[in-house]
């Protein structure tokens, strides 16, 4: 009854917000600071945000530096630019308000057989501030600082600092080249088929997440920092090479109390650098745009420990070699837009450290994730998306353990296999205002359809309905 009343109140509040927005009139653009900087409507860079068009990809490759605003300038005696700064800072904000319903409530964490509530309201689920735009003539940035209701804190989110330039080649061909400093492999990528910007573009933080995910699939996001060099020839052939190091947030050295260096009280610490590579080819034909590519990274991680159970950062490491392929197709018509994207990630694990410590029962494991999504947008106002996801791999009762009551995030049989479907419908009264209803269904969760956790919970109990109001301004 309580949840029903909360649901009613939430829907009523969303309705009030919408009516208020109708009364205020339409905002001008969807990705506000980029749009303010360029003077271009959202549709130049996005089909529907945050999915990019070809122009949006090139804007990103060019370092977010296209600027049509009045500039504060300075030049030297040789007419070299010393400063070119937008008169207005490229700031923007984003708010997500949501309600999540689990198909079946969770067991109470301390008092079985009592149950948790079934729904969770997040107002805000996330509230973010962006600096997104040009910094200097060839330098741009997209920096996101986010408050999230699960942590209750403000923290650094995706960050991408770029230098980009153009080499003019013979016959009017162009080579865009640049450097990205970022904190999440693939956040600097140009397509929506790779993990950082792939579907789902927003998802609940009040559901149940499966145990297994590959490292490149966001597992180490914001816990690493990397620098990569990239080049794009003729707006079609893209190549990138990068290296990442551990750059953990909120972790200090116990002796000095300073931000580092990391020691055995930190967990999942990269041993040295993690290489990252990416290659992609984009082909445009009429209203069609096809991209095929591959990306991969190798991570050597010390398991480390915690302040109460430290584990020195030396000796054996766990090695994760991720190789992935991706594909994206877009059809952009006047009224109808179709985007299909997918990726296949294969991870080969050499768990030398975990095997010795008993955290895994196998010295080597495999993990494979496949994901694809098909989106249809009508007049950039109505959207429908269908997505399939699947992760499967080696049974390892150490890595994916049975755990203890009340279960839920455990696997009774030690299998990481999870698969299911997502469906989403969205309505965008304006290009920067999205109201979505997303449903996630699990055919299999942590290794089984029924009683996957050994405590009578079925995969479908984690099916999730997610109502989201997403505003960027």
């Amino acid at each position: 009854m309580v949840s029903l009343m909360q649901g009613f109140l939430f829907l009523r509040n969303i309705t009030i917000v919408f009516i208020a927005m109708l009364a205020l009139g339409p905002p001008a653009h969807a990705v506000p600071s980029f749009a303010r900087q360029t003077g271009l409507a959202c549709e130049a860079c996005h089909t529907v945000f945050p999915e990019l068009t070809h122009f949006g990809r090139m804007f990103k490759a060019n370092g977010f530096t296209l600027d049509n605003l009045k500039q504060v300038r300075d030049i030297d005696s040789r007419k070299q630019q010393l400063l070119s700064l937008s008169a207005l800072p490229p700031l923007a904000a984003m708010i997500q308000a949501s309600q999540t319903w689990l198909n079946q409530s969770l067991p109470d964490s301390t008092n079985l057989p009592a149950r948790s509530q079934r729904s969770t309201i997040g107002v805000p689920q996330q509230l973010a501030l962006f600096y997104a735009g040009k910094v200097a003539p060839h330098v741009g940035a997209m920096i996101q600082i986010t408050y999230a209701n699960d942590t209750g804190t403000i923290g650094i989110d995706n960050t991408d600092l770029r230098y980009a330039n153009l080499a003019l080649l013979p016959n009017d061909h162009g080579l865009v080249y640049g450097i990205s400093i970022n904190n999440n492999p693939t956040v600097e990528d140009l397509w929506n088929s790779t993990p950082a910007w792939g579907f789902p573009y927003a998802s609940t933080n009040a559901g149940v997440s499966p145990l297994a995910a590959t490292q490149i699939d966001g597992t180490l996001a914001q816990q690493m920092a990397g620098i990569s060099l990239y080049a794009m020839w003729n707006e079609s052939l893209y190549a990138e090479l990068g290296v990442y190091h551990s750059a953990q947030q909120g972790v200090t050295n116990p002796i000095t109390g300073a931000a580092g260096p990391l020691d055995g009280t930190a967990s999942n610490v990269l041993d040295g650098s993690a290489p990252y590579a990416r290659i992609a080819y984009e082909y445009q034909y009429g209203r069609h745009d096809l991209e095929v590519g591959a990306y991969g990274a190798g991570f050597r991680l010390y398991p480390g420990g915690s302040s109460t159970a430290p584990n020195p950062l030396s000796g054996p490491v766990n090695r994760f070699d991720d190789i992935a392929e991706d594909l994206q197709y877009q059809f952009i018509g006047e009224n109808n837009i179709v985007t299909v994207a997918g990726t296949f990630i294969h991870e080969s694990m050499h768990l030398d450290a975990s095997y010795i410590s008993g955290a895994s029962v196998n010295p080597t494991d495999q993990l494979t994730t496949t994901r694809f999504d098909a989106n249809y947008y009508y007049r950039r106002t109505y959207a429908i998306t269908v997505s399939h996801f699947s992760t499967s791999g080696t049974v390892d009762t150490g890595l994916y353990s049975a755990g203890r009551a009340p279960g839920v995030i455990t696997s009774a049989n030690g299998s990481p296999d999870t698969r299911g479907w997502m469906g989403e419908i969205s309505y965008l009264p304006w290009l920067n205002t999205k109201l979505s209803l997303q449903y996630t269904h699990y055919d299999q969760f942590n290794g089984a359809r029924n009683d996957y956790d050994g405590f009578d919970r079925n995969a479908s109990a984690n099916d999730t309905s997610y109502l989201l109001l997403w505003l960027t301004f």
Binding site: A41, H54, D172
Partner: protein, 214 residues
């Protein structure tokens, strides 16, 4: 059905527009090598994202610029900057793009695209093409449609005042004809022509024009 004629007000507007167009190409003279190089960089790094390599756009939403007359291009850039060209894509894309361009950059960019060799587009349905050709060359007196060729030339190559139409995308031409019909582009002569055009005839003319070569 009575023949629709262009009214005196529309003619006056058209003459003023033509006078503006005629004055613009003269300003294209005297482009420095530095300005040409700067324009080439802008064209390759930015304009090409939509308008394609050397103005040969592949996406039909965006017009082919290769071989377009510099005077016409310059007039459009001025109209984008002044926000007087009000078709939807002009507002969404080009108002912003043109905002930061100064006169010399506009001249150099217009000159760059006017120097690129044009290409023919794909051929369309033969029946439509025949109908489009007839309208283009001879008009349709019964429908009150004047022949387009009178201004745009028998091969649709245009001239310093009227734009080149040969090889242009069907989708783009259709959108512009609708924009003229709805008076979003503030070009009186084309509003007069397009307001009597049926959609089927717009398509026929556009299909014919797309197929024309250089």
């Amino acid at each position: 059905m009575p023949t629709r004629r262009i009214g005196p007000l529309q003619s006056a507007g058209a003459l003023a527009f033509l006078a503006l167009l005629a004055s613009l190409p003269a300003r294209a003279a005297g482009i420095s090598a530095q300005a040409r190089l700067a324009a080439e960089r802008v064209a390759v790094s930015t304009c090409a994202n939509c308008h394609g390599w050397r103005g040969h756009s592949v996406a039909p939403k965006f017009p082919v610029l290769a071989g377009q007359h510099s005077g016409y291009l310059l007039a459009q850039l001025h109209a984008f900057k002044a926000q007087t060209r009000g078709d939807p894509d002009a507002i969404g894309y080009m108002w912003g793009m043109a905002a930061a361009l100064d006169d010399s950059q506009m001249v150099a960019l217009s000159d760059y695209y006017s120097r690129q060799p044009p290409v023919a587009g794909p051929r369309g349905d033969p029946h439509l093409t025949r109908r489009g050709r007839a309208i283009y060359l001879h008009g349709d007196a019964a429908e009150g449609i004047p022949p387009c060729a009178v201004c745009h030339g028998p091969t649709a190559a245009g001239n310093t005042t009227y734009p080149r139409l040969a090889g242009q995308h069907v989708q783009y031409l259709m959108k512009q004809l609708r924009s003229f019909k709805d008076n979003l582009r503030d070009v009186a002569i084309m509003h007069g022509v397009a307001r009597g055009l049926r959609v089927a005839d717009m398509r026929a003319v556009s299909v014919y024009l797309q197929s024309l070569g250089s």
